[in-house]
Symmetry: C2
Subunit: 440 residues, 2 copies
């Protein structure tokens, strides 16, 4: 079986019309996916054509640029033998990252890393389908040596050696079956950000917080950072609705300088905050470390813009994060994510992946399950983001029940979109956009 | 006078044919420029059409991707009044960086930051031409307040406040005229990397080192990192030719992990090295700090892949660099570079910008001159990179005399290419590439 072709689609959903997803830094995004399909000449167990489906998330314009980069990178996979590829995913990843000319455009960051993520996410989805397993299970079933071979440990050896990584995984082997059974019973806890976007009215905020409580959520997150007085009012509303026992988190989406982040967070600390998320530039390791010292006992959460494993290594070495919010479309797929999970396990940092956007929830459920089953062995104090929109476009959408992700069971990475969704929202020629552009 | 149009060209020079530019990480690059021309409806003093010319440097494939991003960003400038724009370059920069959707693709890193650099470099070239001044002089003639308004100080206030920046500049105001006169007499010292590429034979290395000595260079830099025995032999040859009094630097182009960097550098330290350049991942602030402690008295130089001012802030806060090798096409133009010069002046780090590539030497001469005249006020211990190739494609190429850059005197940023060069090397339809692709 060979990879015969690559399709890359620019899919954009018009979320800017409803202010879903608005925050202090991002005001008018159309949630979008650079969507990669690796076609093969094989078929699945049902005789349907076998393909791998992957994506990265962007907020609209520029999604085309990521797609062009993905097309150039994915071209290296066409003609490859699928069985050989899925048996050596670490090697495939290294081949794609070894391209010196694309590397110059990062290295390992920005557009070429987002696009690499989309391509490798599709390769992982294909690997899961070939194995007949959900991706979390494909990885959890690996031996410690196999899983470490998948992980990109380059530049990490001063913090985590290969031997240490294997030892960490070996220590969790015994309890795997029990933890899988536990996930089958109770899923993986999540929290909702759907209540707290900046563009919503107080009334809508109150209503959405109450709905979240009614649905069983133990954590609520609000966007902050545009206006302190408004933030005080909105945090007050949220705390009032959720009561004293549930957790309240705030998210500033990078709007502050370091000292301002400390002052603003401390001004809201009376609402008993679990964490402040993205208080400043996502590149500022030392700044986050200073903020963490300055706002304790409020925790520091960051990572959705953490552009590669070297940044996460430093955040952990510097004591700059309590909660690691890695992003499944910004890190270059599970090859890099497994490395970050291993670092987090070593440093005792809680992994609470970034959800939302398009398809991120579909992917992060696999990551959190894998972390619990095979890497950290713990759900204690961890909670994975969930945002309730755009799931209807996926063929195997994530399912949340009683404020927990249900363990994915279908083969792959849950990242296949309905063909009808792609046809409608492909930019600029899908039915939705063609109609809107014609009437503009 | 208005900006009427933007042209973006994908210009690639076939440097991979001669192994110019080969190093341990980058083996087959074609030195390229994403080249931006901002057209206006005005004319210069000679009655010729007035335009601004800017670029960023890449190593080949992917240059098209940067060009597409530049086209989207530069579109925001079309229709703008030129006089208003050049009077508020800080505002123009903020407008272009405020685009939330392009920001998501970085933020402030990778393709969208490289492309922003090309666009703003063209805007700065235009500003210099409008003022009838070389860009270094345009900036050096500003008041401290004006220059600080140009600088992007966002996320830096924990290390450098606006007031501190103004005070730093004010302290250098008195000596400006004298330092300009000094630059007119002796230029700005540079070193050559042309001798030490990995692809060259020992014989060629020896000959090129001798030529550099004969031309008056006091510093020679070699690429290292592929093979320790070979590095020992090549450093031995270089030290033998240049004698004990000239400086020898080595450049590993990011190939090592942290501990390996310390061991390898110390294994070469007997050749009396001034600096080790890019020993590991350019993102690894804490790793560089560890390396700096581990290889002293060999200095640590890095920055050509330093993707924004927040990274440089941390390198300086952490004591991770002795020499700041900022890149004129990777930082988002002089708006961000002035901020880094200010940080370096505060922390006492020596700015030795990254030269080479396409057009980088043309730009960095302006930066080093500006740093000496208006910011740090010193050339002590500083030396700017010079690589002797591809200058023939520029209408106002940098001039090096007695191992020093000659002070640029013509208006603009020295980044205009000959139209014939663009016509020949435009990819894929320029005469050179069309011919090569036809005969392939």
């Amino acid at each position: 079986m060979k990879i015969t072709a690559v399709d890359v689609e620019d899919v954009r959903f018009p979320t800017s019309l409803t202010a879903d997803g608005s925050d202090a830094m991002n005001k008018d995004g159309d949630y979008s996916a650079a969507y990669v399909v690796l076609r093969t000449d094989g078929t699945d167990a049902d005789g349907a054509p076998l393909a791998g489906y992957g994506l990265t998330f962007t907020t609209g314009r520029g999604n085309d640029i990521v797609g062009i980069a993905a097309r150039q990178q994915a071209a290296l996979l066409v003609g490859r033998d699928v069985e050989e590829m899925v048996a050596d995913m670490g090697g495939v990843y290294r081949d794609l990252t070894a391209d010196a000319q694309m590397r110059w455009l990062g290295p390992e960051k920005g557009v070429v890393h987002l696009s690499l993520s989309a391509v490798m996410n599709a390769a992982w989805d294909l690997a899961g389908r070939v194995a007949g397993k959900p991706v979390w299970r494909l990885l959890a079933d690996m031996t410690p040596e196999q899983l470490v071979d998948v992980a990109d440990l380059r530049y990490l050896s001063d913090a985590l050696t290969r031997d240490e990584a294997i030892a960490l995984l070996r220590a969790q082997e015994g309890g795997k079956a029990e933890r899988i059974a536990e996930l089958e019973r109770t899923g993986y806890p999540c929290y909702t950000t759907s209540a707290g976007w900046l563009g919503y009215s107080d009334e809508k905020l109150r209503r959405l917080c109450q709905e979240a409580v009614d649905e069983g959520y133990q954590h609520i997150k609000l966007k902050v950072g545009a206006d302190l007085e408004e933030d005080v009012r909105r945090c007050g509303i949220a705390r009032d609705v959720i009561g004293p026992d549930r957790a309240l988190m705030i998210d500033a989406n990078q709007v502050w300088d370091v000292d301002q982040a400390i002052e603003w967070t401390n001004a809201l600390a009376r609402f008993d905050l679990l964490w402040i998320e993205e208080p400043t530039s996502p590149d500022d390791v030392l700044g986050h470390a200073a903020i963490r010292r300055g706002v304790a006992p409020v925790g520091v959460a960051t990572g959705e813009h953490g552009h590669n494993r070297v940044m996460f290594k430093q955040f952990m070495q510097a004591g700059a994060m309590d909660y690691c919010q890695l992003d499944a479309g910004r890190l270059a797929s599970l090859n890099e994510i497994v490395a970050v999970l291993l670092l987090a396990a070593k440093f005792g940092v809680k992994v609470c992946p970034h959800g939302g956007g398009v398809g991120l929830c579909e992917m992060v459920q696999h990551i959190s399950m894998l972390d619990f089953v095979a890497v950290s062995g713990s759900r204690e104090g961890r909670v994975t983001e969930y945002v309730d929109h755009l799931h209807e476009h996926f063929t195997d959408p994530c399912v949340v029940r009683e404020a927990a992700y249900v363990l994915p069971s279908r083969p792959g990475y849950s990242t296949q979109m309905h063909e009808a969704s792609v046809a409608e929202f492909r930019f600029p020629d899908g039915a939705y956009w063609a109609g809107r552009l014609a009437s503009a």
